[in-house]
Symmetry: C2
Amino acid sequence: MMPRLYVPSLAPGARTAALPPDEADHVRRVLRARVGSPVRVFDGRGAEREARVDSLEGRTVTVVLGDAVAPARECRVSVTLGVAVLKGEKTDAVVRDAVMMGVAALQPMLTDRSDLPPAAVARGTRLDRWRRIAVASAKQCGRAVVPEVFAPSSLPECLARHRRDAGVVLVEPSSEGLARARRPVPRAPASALVLVGPEGGWTRGEVDAAVASGCAAVTLGPRTLRADAVPVVALGVLWHYWGELIV
Amino acid sequence: MMPRLYVPSLAPGARTAALPPDEADHVRRVLRARVGSPVRVFDGRGAEREARVDSLEGRTVTVVLGDAVAPARECRVSVTLGVAVLKGEKTDAVVRDAVMMGVAALQPMLTDRSDLPPAAVARGTRLDRWRRIAVASAKQCGRAVVPEVFAPSSLPECLARHRRDAGVVLVEPSSEGLARARRPVPRAPASALVLVGPEGGWTRGEVDAAVASGCAAVTLGPRTLRADAVPVVALGVLWHYWGELIV
Protein backbone atom coordinates (compact mmCIF):
# COMPACT_ATOMS: atom_id res chain seq x y z
CA MET A 1 0.00 0.00 0.00
CA MET A 2 1.22 3.51 -0.83
CA PRO A 3 2.28 5.47 2.31
CA ARG A 4 -0.78 7.35 3.60
CA LEU A 5 -0.27 10.59 5.51
CA TYR A 6 -2.81 12.29 7.75
CA VAL A 7 -3.12 16.01 6.95
CA PRO A 8 -6.18 17.38 8.77
CA SER A 9 -5.66 20.86 7.31
CA LEU A 10 -6.01 19.55 3.73
CA ALA A 11 -8.24 22.01 1.80
CA PRO A 12 -10.49 20.76 -1.03
CA GLY A 13 -9.01 22.84 -3.85
CA ALA A 14 -5.43 23.07 -2.58
CA ARG A 15 -2.47 22.38 -4.88
CA THR A 16 0.10 21.92 -2.13
CA ALA A 17 0.09 21.04 1.54
CA ALA A 18 2.57 21.27 4.41
CA LEU A 19 2.70 18.10 6.49
CA PRO A 20 2.09 18.27 10.25
CA PRO A 21 5.32 17.83 12.26
CA ASP A 22 4.78 14.15 13.13
CA GLU A 23 3.97 13.22 9.54
CA ALA A 24 6.97 15.23 8.30
CA ASP A 25 9.14 13.29 10.76
CA HIS A 26 7.66 10.01 9.55
CA VAL A 27 8.33 10.89 5.91
CA ARG A 28 11.94 11.78 6.60
CA ARG A 29 12.96 9.17 9.16
CA VAL A 30 10.84 6.10 8.50
CA LEU A 31 9.92 6.35 4.82
CA ARG A 32 13.23 8.06 3.95
CA ALA A 33 11.34 9.79 1.16
CA ARG A 34 13.01 12.12 -1.34
CA VAL A 35 11.72 14.94 -3.50
CA GLY A 36 9.37 13.29 -5.96
CA SER A 37 8.46 10.31 -3.77
CA PRO A 38 4.79 9.36 -4.27
CA VAL A 39 2.50 9.35 -1.23
CA ARG A 40 -1.16 9.77 -0.46
CA VAL A 41 -2.65 12.29 1.92
CA PHE A 42 -6.07 12.19 3.59
CA ASP A 43 -7.89 14.72 5.74
CA GLY A 44 -9.53 12.38 8.28
CA ARG A 45 -12.97 13.45 7.07
CA GLY A 46 -13.17 11.27 3.98
CA ALA A 47 -11.04 13.03 1.33
CA GLU A 48 -7.86 11.48 -0.04
CA ARG A 49 -5.48 12.78 -2.73
CA GLU A 50 -2.47 11.52 -4.61
CA ALA A 51 0.63 13.55 -3.79
CA ARG A 52 4.39 13.81 -4.29
CA VAL A 53 7.00 15.12 -1.90
CA ASP A 54 7.94 18.59 -3.12
CA SER A 55 10.45 19.79 -0.58
CA LEU A 56 12.19 18.60 2.58
CA GLU A 57 13.76 21.57 4.33
CA GLY A 58 14.74 21.17 7.95
CA ARG A 59 11.67 19.91 9.71
CA THR A 60 9.27 21.11 7.03
CA VAL A 61 7.95 18.77 4.36
CA THR A 62 5.57 19.93 1.66
CA VAL A 63 3.76 17.88 -0.94
CA VAL A 64 2.25 18.72 -4.33
CA LEU A 65 -1.30 17.40 -4.51
CA GLY A 66 -2.68 15.37 -7.39
CA ASP A 67 -5.96 13.65 -8.21
CA ALA A 68 -8.53 12.63 -5.65
CA VAL A 69 -8.51 8.91 -4.97
CA ALA A 70 -11.27 6.67 -3.62
CA PRO A 71 -10.42 5.52 -0.10
CA ALA A 72 -11.91 2.42 1.48
CA ARG A 73 -15.69 2.74 1.46
CA GLU A 74 -17.20 3.81 4.78
CA CYS A 75 -19.93 1.69 6.38
CA ARG A 76 -23.52 2.61 5.60
CA VAL A 77 -24.37 2.22 9.27
CA SER A 78 -22.68 4.95 11.30
CA VAL A 79 -21.68 3.10 14.46
CA THR A 80 -20.61 4.68 17.72
CA LEU A 81 -18.87 2.07 19.85
CA GLY A 82 -19.47 2.70 23.54
CA VAL A 83 -16.85 0.61 25.24
CA ALA A 84 -15.87 0.26 28.89
CA VAL A 85 -12.24 1.18 29.53
CA LEU A 86 -10.39 -2.12 30.17
CA LYS A 87 -7.43 -2.92 32.40
CA GLY A 88 -3.89 -2.04 31.40
CA GLU A 89 -3.36 -1.26 27.74
CA LYS A 90 -6.21 -3.40 26.44
CA THR A 91 -8.30 -0.42 25.35
CA ASP A 92 -5.47 0.48 22.95
CA ALA A 93 -6.16 -2.73 21.02
CA VAL A 94 -9.91 -2.10 21.15
CA VAL A 95 -9.47 1.37 19.60
CA ARG A 96 -7.13 0.03 16.92
CA ASP A 97 -9.47 -2.84 16.00
CA ALA A 98 -12.67 -0.79 16.11
CA VAL A 99 -11.21 1.79 13.70
CA MET A 100 -10.07 -1.03 11.41
CA MET A 101 -13.60 -2.47 11.54
CA GLY A 102 -15.03 0.88 10.45
CA VAL A 103 -16.73 2.54 13.42
CA ALA A 104 -17.66 6.21 13.05
CA ALA A 105 -16.81 7.13 16.66
CA LEU A 106 -15.68 5.68 19.97
CA GLN A 107 -17.08 6.56 23.37
CA PRO A 108 -14.87 5.15 26.16
CA MET A 109 -16.86 4.60 29.35
CA LEU A 110 -16.24 4.12 33.05
CA THR A 111 -18.92 1.64 34.13
CA ASP A 112 -20.04 0.22 37.47
CA ARG A 113 -17.48 -2.60 37.26
CA SER A 114 -14.67 -0.69 35.57
CA ASP A 115 -11.61 -1.53 37.61
CA LEU A 116 -9.92 1.85 37.15
CA PRO A 117 -9.70 5.05 39.17
CA PRO A 118 -11.50 7.74 37.12
CA ALA A 119 -8.58 10.08 37.81
CA ALA A 120 -6.23 7.76 35.91
CA VAL A 121 -8.38 8.14 32.85
CA ALA A 122 -9.24 11.80 33.32
CA ARG A 123 -5.62 12.95 33.17
CA GLY A 124 -6.00 12.76 29.43
CA THR A 125 -2.83 10.93 28.47
CA ARG A 126 -4.90 7.86 27.66
CA LEU A 127 -7.31 9.87 25.55
CA ASP A 128 -4.43 11.43 23.61
CA ARG A 129 -2.94 7.99 23.03
CA TRP A 130 -6.27 6.53 21.87
CA ARG A 131 -6.60 9.41 19.38
CA ARG A 132 -3.10 8.75 18.03
CA ILE A 133 -3.94 5.04 17.73
CA ALA A 134 -7.13 5.92 15.83
CA VAL A 135 -5.05 7.91 13.30
CA ALA A 136 -2.49 5.10 12.96
CA SER A 137 -5.19 2.48 12.46
CA ALA A 138 -7.01 4.60 9.84
CA LYS A 139 -3.74 4.89 7.92
CA GLN A 140 -3.15 1.18 7.99
CA CYS A 141 -6.64 -0.02 7.06
CA GLY A 142 -7.13 2.40 4.17
CA ARG A 143 -9.81 4.64 5.69
CA ALA A 144 -9.74 8.37 4.96
CA VAL A 145 -11.95 8.99 7.98
CA VAL A 146 -10.42 9.18 11.44
CA PRO A 147 -13.17 8.30 13.93
CA GLU A 148 -13.64 10.67 16.82
CA VAL A 149 -12.60 9.31 20.22
CA PHE A 150 -14.68 11.11 22.84
CA ALA A 151 -13.53 11.84 26.38
CA PRO A 152 -14.59 9.06 28.78
CA SER A 153 -18.15 9.21 30.06
CA SER A 154 -20.50 7.14 32.21
CA LEU A 155 -23.03 4.76 30.62
CA PRO A 156 -25.97 7.13 31.35
CA GLU A 157 -24.04 9.99 29.74
CA CYS A 158 -23.26 7.78 26.75
CA LEU A 159 -26.92 6.77 26.36
CA ALA A 160 -28.05 10.39 26.62
CA ARG A 161 -25.41 11.87 24.33
CA HIS A 162 -25.33 9.69 21.23
CA ARG A 163 -28.37 9.93 18.98
CA ARG A 164 -29.03 6.71 17.05
CA ASP A 165 -31.59 4.72 15.10
CA ALA A 166 -30.58 1.48 16.78
CA GLY A 167 -28.84 0.36 19.95
CA VAL A 168 -27.16 -2.94 20.76
CA VAL A 169 -25.80 -3.94 24.15
CA LEU A 170 -23.50 -6.98 24.16
CA VAL A 171 -24.21 -9.23 27.13
CA GLU A 172 -22.96 -12.52 28.62
CA PRO A 173 -23.45 -15.93 26.96
CA SER A 174 -26.31 -16.74 29.35
CA SER A 175 -28.43 -14.15 27.55
CA GLU A 176 -30.19 -14.61 24.25
CA GLY A 177 -28.61 -14.75 20.78
CA LEU A 178 -28.70 -12.01 18.20
CA ALA A 179 -31.37 -13.72 16.11
CA ARG A 180 -33.61 -14.30 19.11
CA ALA A 181 -33.09 -11.06 21.00
CA ARG A 182 -36.45 -10.07 22.48
CA ARG A 183 -36.05 -6.69 20.84
CA PRO A 184 -34.69 -7.44 17.36
CA VAL A 185 -31.75 -5.46 16.03
CA PRO A 186 -33.09 -3.22 13.21
CA ARG A 187 -32.11 -4.43 9.74
CA ALA A 188 -31.03 -1.16 8.15
CA PRO A 189 -30.44 1.63 10.67
CA ALA A 190 -28.63 4.78 9.54
CA SER A 191 -26.81 4.94 12.86
CA ALA A 192 -26.27 2.65 15.82
CA LEU A 193 -24.79 2.68 19.28
CA VAL A 194 -23.01 -0.59 20.15
CA LEU A 195 -22.22 -1.06 23.86
CA VAL A 196 -19.52 -3.39 25.20
CA GLY A 197 -18.87 -3.82 28.94
CA PRO A 198 -15.72 -4.37 31.01
CA GLU A 199 -14.01 -7.63 32.04
CA GLY A 200 -16.46 -8.13 34.91
CA GLY A 201 -19.49 -7.48 32.73
CA TRP A 202 -22.38 -5.07 33.16
CA THR A 203 -24.40 -4.82 36.32
CA ARG A 204 -28.05 -5.78 36.01
CA GLY A 205 -28.96 -2.11 36.41
CA GLU A 206 -26.75 -1.14 33.48
CA VAL A 207 -28.29 -3.73 31.15
CA ASP A 208 -31.75 -2.59 32.25
CA ALA A 209 -30.83 1.05 31.57
CA ALA A 210 -29.52 0.22 28.10
CA VAL A 211 -32.60 -1.84 27.25
CA ALA A 212 -34.90 0.86 28.66
CA SER A 213 -33.26 3.36 26.33
CA GLY A 214 -34.00 1.16 23.32
CA CYS A 215 -31.01 -1.16 23.04
CA ALA A 216 -31.35 -4.80 22.00
CA ALA A 217 -29.48 -7.09 24.41
CA VAL A 218 -27.54 -9.65 22.38
CA THR A 219 -24.81 -12.21 22.92
CA LEU A 220 -22.15 -13.67 20.68
CA GLY A 221 -22.74 -17.33 21.41
CA PRO A 222 -22.09 -19.86 24.14
CA ARG A 223 -18.39 -19.32 24.78
CA THR A 224 -16.92 -16.65 27.05
CA LEU A 225 -15.09 -14.14 24.86
CA ARG A 226 -12.34 -11.97 26.29
CA ALA A 227 -13.62 -8.43 26.88
CA ASP A 228 -11.03 -6.98 24.49
CA ALA A 229 -12.13 -9.36 21.71
CA VAL A 230 -15.85 -8.63 21.97
CA PRO A 231 -15.88 -5.35 19.96
CA VAL A 232 -14.15 -6.77 16.88
CA VAL A 233 -16.29 -9.92 16.86
CA ALA A 234 -19.51 -7.98 17.49
CA LEU A 235 -18.74 -5.49 14.72
CA GLY A 236 -17.95 -8.31 12.26
CA VAL A 237 -21.23 -10.04 13.06
CA LEU A 238 -23.22 -6.79 12.88
CA TRP A 239 -21.64 -5.85 9.54
CA HIS A 240 -22.71 -9.23 8.19
CA TYR A 241 -26.20 -8.79 9.68
CA TRP A 242 -26.42 -5.33 8.13
CA GLY A 243 -25.14 -6.43 4.70
CA GLU A 244 -21.95 -4.38 4.97
CA LEU A 245 -19.71 -7.24 3.91
CA ILE A 246 -20.99 -7.24 0.36
CA VAL A 247 -18.29 -5.23 -1.38
CA MET B 1 -16.01 -18.75 36.76
CA MET B 2 -14.97 -21.80 38.82
CA PRO B 3 -11.30 -22.74 38.24
CA ARG B 4 -11.16 -25.23 35.35
CA LEU B 5 -8.35 -27.77 35.22
CA TYR B 6 -7.26 -29.77 32.20
CA VAL B 7 -6.90 -33.48 33.02
CA PRO B 8 -6.51 -35.39 29.75
CA SER B 9 -6.35 -38.74 31.57
CA LEU B 10 -9.83 -38.24 33.07
CA ALA B 11 -11.73 -41.56 32.74
CA PRO B 12 -15.54 -41.59 32.28
CA GLY B 13 -16.43 -43.52 35.42
CA ALA B 14 -13.56 -42.43 37.65
CA ARG B 15 -14.18 -41.26 41.21
CA THR B 16 -10.84 -39.57 41.69
CA ALA B 17 -8.12 -38.11 39.48
CA ALA B 18 -4.51 -37.08 39.94
CA LEU B 19 -3.74 -33.72 38.35
CA PRO B 20 -0.95 -33.42 35.78
CA PRO B 21 2.15 -31.66 37.20
CA ASP B 22 1.44 -28.23 35.68
CA GLU B 23 -2.17 -28.22 36.88
CA ALA B 24 -1.07 -29.39 40.33
CA ASP B 25 1.40 -26.49 40.40
CA HIS B 26 -1.34 -24.08 39.32
CA VAL B 27 -3.69 -25.33 42.04
CA ARG B 28 -1.08 -24.92 44.76
CA ARG B 29 0.70 -21.74 43.72
CA VAL B 30 -1.85 -19.64 41.85
CA LEU B 31 -5.21 -20.77 43.19
CA ARG B 32 -3.75 -21.50 46.66
CA ALA B 33 -6.39 -24.20 46.99
CA ARG B 34 -6.87 -26.30 50.13
CA VAL B 35 -8.39 -29.70 50.74
CA GLY B 36 -12.06 -29.30 49.92
CA SER B 37 -11.66 -26.39 47.47
CA PRO B 38 -14.17 -26.74 44.62
CA VAL B 39 -12.84 -26.91 41.05
CA ARG B 40 -13.89 -28.31 37.72
CA VAL B 41 -11.90 -30.73 35.59
CA PHE B 42 -12.28 -31.40 31.87
CA ASP B 43 -10.65 -33.97 29.61
CA GLY B 44 -10.13 -31.86 26.47
CA ARG B 45 -12.49 -34.15 24.53
CA GLY B 46 -15.76 -32.68 25.73
CA ALA B 47 -16.31 -34.11 29.23
CA GLU B 48 -16.33 -31.92 32.33
CA ARG B 49 -16.94 -32.85 35.99
CA GLU B 50 -17.35 -31.06 39.27
CA ALA B 51 -14.53 -31.86 41.66
CA ARG B 52 -12.99 -31.03 45.05
CA VAL B 53 -9.36 -31.03 46.05
CA ASP B 54 -8.81 -34.21 48.08
CA SER B 55 -5.10 -34.12 48.89
CA LEU B 56 -2.07 -31.92 48.34
CA GLU B 57 1.04 -33.92 49.12
CA GLY B 58 4.34 -32.62 47.84
CA ARG B 59 3.84 -32.09 44.14
CA THR B 60 0.88 -34.42 43.89
CA VAL B 61 -2.67 -33.09 43.92
CA THR B 62 -5.68 -35.38 43.68
CA VAL B 63 -9.32 -34.46 43.33
CA VAL B 64 -12.55 -36.30 44.13
CA LEU B 65 -14.86 -36.19 41.14
CA GLY B 66 -18.52 -35.21 41.30
CA ASP B 67 -21.32 -34.77 38.80
CA ALA B 68 -20.87 -34.17 35.13
CA VAL B 69 -21.44 -30.54 34.13
CA ALA B 70 -22.41 -29.09 30.78
CA PRO B 71 -19.50 -27.14 29.29
CA ALA B 72 -19.93 -24.42 26.67
CA ARG B 73 -21.73 -25.91 23.66
CA GLU B 74 -19.45 -26.82 20.77
CA CYS B 75 -20.18 -25.43 17.31
CA ARG B 76 -22.31 -27.54 14.99
CA VAL B 77 -19.87 -26.81 12.17
CA SER B 78 -16.55 -28.49 12.85
CA VAL B 79 -14.06 -25.92 11.58
CA THR B 80 -10.40 -26.50 10.89
CA LEU B 81 -8.62 -23.15 10.65
CA GLY B 82 -5.74 -23.31 8.20
CA VAL B 83 -3.72 -20.24 9.02
CA ALA B 84 -0.39 -18.98 7.70
CA VAL B 85 2.24 -18.60 10.43
CA LEU B 86 2.62 -14.85 11.03
CA LYS B 87 5.64 -12.78 12.02
CA GLY B 88 6.87 -12.66 15.60
CA GLU B 89 4.42 -13.85 18.21
CA LYS B 90 1.29 -12.98 16.27
CA THR B 91 0.30 -16.59 15.71
CA ASP B 92 0.03 -16.96 19.50
CA ALA B 93 -2.87 -14.50 19.49
CA VAL B 94 -4.43 -16.24 16.50
CA VAL B 95 -4.38 -19.61 18.29
CA ARG B 96 -5.80 -18.08 21.46
CA ASP B 97 -8.60 -16.29 19.61
CA ALA B 98 -9.47 -19.19 17.30
CA VAL B 99 -9.89 -21.55 20.27
CA MET B 100 -12.06 -18.95 22.00
CA MET B 101 -14.14 -18.68 18.83
CA GLY B 102 -14.70 -22.43 18.84
CA VAL B 103 -12.61 -24.02 16.07
CA ALA B 104 -12.24 -27.80 16.15
CA ALA B 105 -8.61 -27.79 14.97
CA LEU B 106 -5.81 -25.51 13.78
CA GLN B 107 -3.48 -26.20 10.88
CA PRO B 108 -0.57 -23.72 10.86
CA MET B 109 0.86 -23.28 7.37
CA LEU B 110 4.00 -22.01 5.71
CA THR B 111 2.76 -20.34 2.53
CA ASP B 112 4.47 -18.79 -0.51
CA ARG B 113 4.70 -15.40 1.20
CA SER B 114 5.32 -16.58 4.75
CA ASP B 115 8.22 -14.51 5.94
CA LEU B 116 9.76 -17.21 8.14
CA PRO B 117 12.49 -19.80 7.69
CA PRO B 118 10.77 -23.22 7.85
CA ALA B 119 13.53 -24.39 10.21
CA ALA B 120 12.44 -21.82 12.79
CA VAL B 121 9.00 -23.35 12.85
CA ALA B 122 10.10 -26.97 12.50
CA ARG B 123 12.15 -26.95 15.70
CA GLY B 124 8.87 -27.51 17.48
CA THR B 125 9.09 -24.96 20.27
CA ARG B 126 6.45 -22.87 18.57
CA LEU B 127 4.16 -25.87 18.12
CA ASP B 128 4.51 -26.75 21.81
CA ARG B 129 3.72 -23.17 22.76
CA TRP B 130 0.66 -23.05 20.49
CA ARG B 131 -0.60 -26.27 22.10
CA ARG B 132 -0.18 -24.78 25.57
CA ILE B 133 -1.99 -21.64 24.44
CA ALA B 134 -4.84 -23.78 23.09
CA VAL B 135 -5.24 -25.41 26.52
CA ALA B 136 -5.11 -22.05 28.32
CA SER B 137 -7.69 -20.52 25.96
CA ALA B 138 -10.04 -23.52 26.31
CA LYS B 139 -9.89 -23.12 30.10
CA GLN B 140 -10.70 -19.42 29.91
CA CYS B 141 -13.55 -19.56 27.41
CA GLY B 142 -15.38 -22.46 29.04
CA ARG B 143 -14.79 -25.13 26.38
CA ALA B 144 -14.18 -28.73 27.48
CA VAL B 145 -12.63 -29.48 24.10
CA VAL B 146 -9.01 -28.59 23.42
CA PRO B 147 -8.63 -28.21 19.65
CA GLU B 148 -5.78 -30.08 18.05
CA VAL B 149 -2.94 -27.92 16.74
CA PHE B 150 -1.30 -29.79 13.88
CA ALA B 151 2.37 -29.51 12.94
CA PRO B 152 2.91 -26.84 10.29
CA SER B 153 2.23 -27.87 6.69
CA SER B 154 2.16 -26.30 3.25
CA LEU B 155 -1.13 -25.13 1.69
CA PRO B 156 -1.26 -28.14 -0.71
CA GLU B 157 -0.71 -30.49 2.25
CA CYS B 158 -3.43 -28.68 4.19
CA LEU B 159 -5.87 -28.95 1.27
CA ALA B 160 -5.10 -32.65 0.82
CA ARG B 161 -5.19 -33.60 4.49
CA HIS B 162 -8.35 -32.06 5.91
CA ARG B 163 -11.61 -33.64 4.76
CA ARG B 164 -14.48 -31.15 4.79
CA ASP B 165 -17.95 -30.41 3.46
CA ALA B 166 -17.11 -26.77 2.80
CA GLY B 167 -14.04 -24.65 2.24
CA VAL B 168 -13.57 -20.92 2.59
CA VAL B 169 -10.47 -18.97 1.62
CA LEU B 170 -10.27 -15.41 2.95
CA VAL B 171 -8.93 -13.02 0.34
CA GLU B 172 -8.14 -9.33 -0.05
CA PRO B 173 -10.78 -6.56 -0.09
CA SER B 174 -10.54 -6.29 -3.88
CA SER B 175 -12.23 -9.68 -4.14
CA GLU B 176 -15.92 -10.41 -3.77
CA GLY B 177 -17.96 -10.36 -0.56
CA LEU B 178 -19.26 -13.40 1.27
CA ALA B 179 -22.80 -13.02 0.00
CA ARG B 180 -21.68 -12.64 -3.61
CA ALA B 181 -18.86 -15.16 -3.72
CA ARG B 182 -19.04 -16.90 -7.10
CA ARG B 183 -19.11 -20.19 -5.28
CA PRO B 184 -21.48 -19.64 -2.35
CA VAL B 185 -20.48 -20.80 1.10
CA PRO B 186 -22.72 -23.78 1.98
CA ARG B 187 -25.42 -22.94 4.51
CA ALA B 188 -25.13 -25.94 6.83
CA PRO B 189 -21.92 -27.92 6.38
CA ALA B 190 -20.97 -30.50 9.01
CA SER B 191 -17.33 -29.51 8.63
CA ALA B 192 -15.39 -26.70 7.02
CA LEU B 193 -11.83 -25.66 6.28
CA VAL B 194 -11.27 -21.90 6.69
CA LEU B 195 -8.03 -20.59 5.16
CA VAL B 196 -6.32 -17.34 6.20
CA GLY B 197 -3.11 -16.13 4.56
CA PRO B 198 -0.04 -14.27 5.84
CA GLU B 199 0.62 -10.51 6.12
CA GLY B 200 1.57 -10.31 2.45
CA GLY B 201 -1.51 -12.24 1.32
CA TRP B 202 -1.83 -15.31 -0.86
CA THR B 203 -0.20 -15.63 -4.24
CA ARG B 204 -2.56 -15.92 -7.18
CA GLY B 205 -1.54 -19.58 -7.51
CA GLU B 206 -2.52 -20.29 -3.92
CA VAL B 207 -5.97 -18.75 -4.29
CA ASP B 208 -6.44 -20.71 -7.53
CA ALA B 209 -5.40 -23.95 -5.79
CA ALA B 210 -7.81 -23.34 -2.92
CA VAL B 211 -10.68 -22.52 -5.28
CA ALA B 212 -9.83 -25.52 -7.49
CA SER B 213 -10.13 -27.74 -4.42
CA GLY B 214 -13.62 -26.44 -3.70
CA CYS B 215 -13.09 -23.39 -1.50
CA ALA B 216 -15.23 -20.27 -1.82
CA ALA B 217 -13.07 -17.14 -2.03
CA VAL B 218 -14.54 -14.48 0.23
CA THR B 219 -13.55 -11.14 1.70
CA LEU B 220 -14.52 -9.34 4.89
CA GLY B 221 -15.36 -5.97 3.37
CA PRO B 222 -13.62 -2.95 1.93
CA ARG B 223 -11.09 -2.19 4.67
CA THR B 224 -7.69 -3.84 5.02
CA LEU B 225 -7.77 -5.99 8.16
CA ARG B 226 -4.57 -6.92 9.95
CA ALA B 227 -3.62 -10.52 9.19
CA ASP B 228 -3.81 -11.48 12.87
CA ALA B 229 -7.35 -10.05 13.15
CA VAL B 230 -8.76 -11.86 10.11
CA PRO B 231 -9.38 -15.27 11.78
CA VAL B 232 -11.45 -13.93 14.66
CA VAL B 233 -13.52 -11.66 12.41
CA ALA B 234 -14.00 -14.38 9.78
CA LEU B 235 -15.09 -16.93 12.38
CA GLY B 236 -17.56 -14.47 13.93
CA VAL B 237 -19.07 -13.73 10.53
CA LEU B 238 -19.19 -17.42 9.57
CA TRP B 239 -20.83 -18.37 12.87
CA HIS B 240 -23.49 -15.78 12.20
CA TYR B 241 -23.90 -17.03 8.62
CA TRP B 242 -24.18 -20.60 9.89
CA GLY B 243 -26.66 -19.75 12.65
CA GLU B 244 -24.22 -20.63 15.44
CA LEU B 245 -24.86 -17.44 17.37
CA ILE B 246 -28.38 -18.49 18.35
CA VAL B 247 -27.77 -19.82 21.86
